[in-house]
Symmetry: C2
Subunit: 354 residues, 2 copies
């Protein structure tokens, strides 16, 4: 088939090819009048014109590709963020490239390098470790990048997350309000910002209520999984520490702990209260339904994408190999913490009278 | 920073630039010896070389991008397919571009056209409708494309799915084995292949067991959602048809039906047995845990990607605008149906004695 060219569309619409190009590119459409833009779009549709974005990438030195890096797309925490980011990016004329690292740092490095080699304009990264050499390098090279969900110790890249401290405080306040005093915390892995921030917030909330503390009150789990949560709960039971409530670093850890308690004949919520974090799909349908902190996952994705688009605009054209030519001004780095809510359900109740 | 060029790597490794290029490209690596490939890789790593895939795309007239189109990435059915496809594609040097249509045909058309405009080498599409004009056009234009999860009436594109008929037969056999005779079917939407195939399989299985039938035994739901399943179950109850078991077109319809039965005071599995389809995450943790048909979702994704890579190789180079230059031979179209299993859990039991 004969390919319809941009010049054909421009001729049909009675405008200069440059004007037609700007009208058809979502990123430059606001540089032409609405009437012209409409006329060009109608001509393009009538002629069956398919814009050659590949060539556009070369002309403007932009690929209009954005990479989103997640540790595991089958973890239900991530799809709502992906969906939010994709909606914002596609409206701005960008295509989201999703890549799944399988929680492996080597895979992640290879994938990010491959995407940079494609001239990817920027990254949304949900896999950050607290100490993260790859992200230090990305920050050093001034590749437009926004972190979502997890932050690094350096704080050199813009970050969008939930307000971890507020979430933990809501959960502890709720348990204290029910009458709990001895609360254990099954923390997430301490090489992630969420694992560290939530544990620090827990200690702060416990201190704020002048609750009893003990040496093994905060137990870090090896991973954000049901298996790691169950193992930590088994150790908690074996420690003979007294507790009437358990706060978990995330919902999967909470589900694992509930399994361990159930196997030990300790009924929830009569004998122990449990609170999760994230509000994964379906946890409201469990018996009892899980009390948990709800993160605005979709909004985290949309905000990360908006900040990234600003970063890409500020960075200017790339060289197609991915390294941005930026002015040497210090980067303004925004840390955005979105509001969270507590979903009070069936796994929390007043402690049993002893 | 000074960009390290392919020529620098070739010089350091003591090979011709063409050899270095072939060694660094996963798609052509097997054209050079393993020792050479290793030497080039080491030189590239030492020098910090980032291959310019963008330029490679122009030289070979391939973009090494594959588009995967899903109706809703937050539906837990799709992430395992995406993950499987991404693993196969990235090992072959391709990048997967995920796009989410939000179940909207107009959005889908725009996204597919945008991806074609980027020179996308092929598509994996999980959104097919039974009558699907966009996919007819894609088949007509010979864009390398594989359907996964849902097929079209035309059958002109390769398709990878679960063996729907076998799954429904397993579920009906199980219910009949427990002693059920009057089984209702809450079907998925009839504009999807899964909705149609599973309903046809149900009628066939019921006929095979010479079970009683009645006019409203098969009730199509408006969507694959809990709300649509609940609405269909309410109508089923209002119809005064006798039944002791319900088979659902998917897990979400089953969950909606369970809610409706529970609200009507009809306990599962004492008064009614329910079987789902898909085995979504968490349905094994519900009370009672859901009996359901398990699809090999990850394997569906990997197989779809493998077939697509074959299609792309067979199609030869594209013109960068996405339309493939293919020989005019009739397309061999594979329909791959993967094995399914029945997970027997707590929502199925022998019918109550009347």
């Amino acid at each position: 088939m004969q390919r319809v060219k941009l010049a054909d569309v421009a001729r049909a619409a009675g405008v200069h090819p440059g004007t037609a190009s700007r009208a058809l590119n979502p990123a430059t459409r606001d540089q032409v009048s609405r009437a012209t833009s409409k006329r060009v779009a109608r001509a393009a549709e009538r002629l069956g014109y398919v814009p050659n974005t590949f060539a556009r990438g070369l002309r403007t030195a932009r690929s209009y590709l954005v990479g989103m890096v997640v540790p595991d797309v089958t973890n239900p925490l991530f799809p709502p963020m992906v969906r939010g980011a994709e909606q914002v990016l596609s409206r701005a004329g960008y295509t989201l490239v999703l890549t799944d690292t399988d929680n492996d740092a080597g895979t992640e490095r290879r994938q990010v390098e491959q995407l940079r080699a494609r001239g990817t304009d920027g990254f949304i990264i949900a896999t950050a470790r607290w100490e993260d050499r790859l992200l230090d390098e990305v920050a050093e090279a001034r590749v437009p990048t926004v972190l979502v969900n997890r932050n690094t110790s350096g704080g050199r890249l813009p970050y969008v997350g939930g307000d971890e401290r507020a979430g933990i405080k809501l959960a502890v306040d709720h348990l204290v309000g029910l009458g709990h005093r001895r609360i254990a915390y099954l923390a997430g892995p301490q090489d992630t910002s969420t694992g560290r921030e939530r544990a620090a917030a827990f200690r702060q909330a416990v201190a704020g209520h002048t609750l009893p503390t003990w040496r093994t009150q905060v137990r870090p789990c090896a991973a954000y999984t049901e298996a790691a949560g169950a193992a930590a709960a088994v150790r908690l039971l074996a420690s003979a520490a007294e507790f009437t409530a358990v706060l978990a670093g995330n919902d999967l850890i909470a589900l694992g702990a509930l399994d361990a308690f159930s196997r030990a004949g300790i009924h929830c919520p009569d004998r122990v209260s449990v609170v999760g974090f994230n509000d994964l799909p379906m946890v409201d349908r469990l018996t009892p339904p899980l009390s948990t902190v709800r993160l605005p996952l979709h909004e985290m994705g949309t905000l990360a994408a908006r900040i990234l688009l600003d970063e890409i605009d500020a960075a200017g054209p790339t060289d197609g190999g991915g390294s941005a030519m930026q002015p040497a001004q210090p980067q303004r780095v925004a840390q955005s913490l979105l509001g969270v809510e507590l979903a009070v359900r069936g796994t929390t109740a007043a402690p049993a009278r002893s």
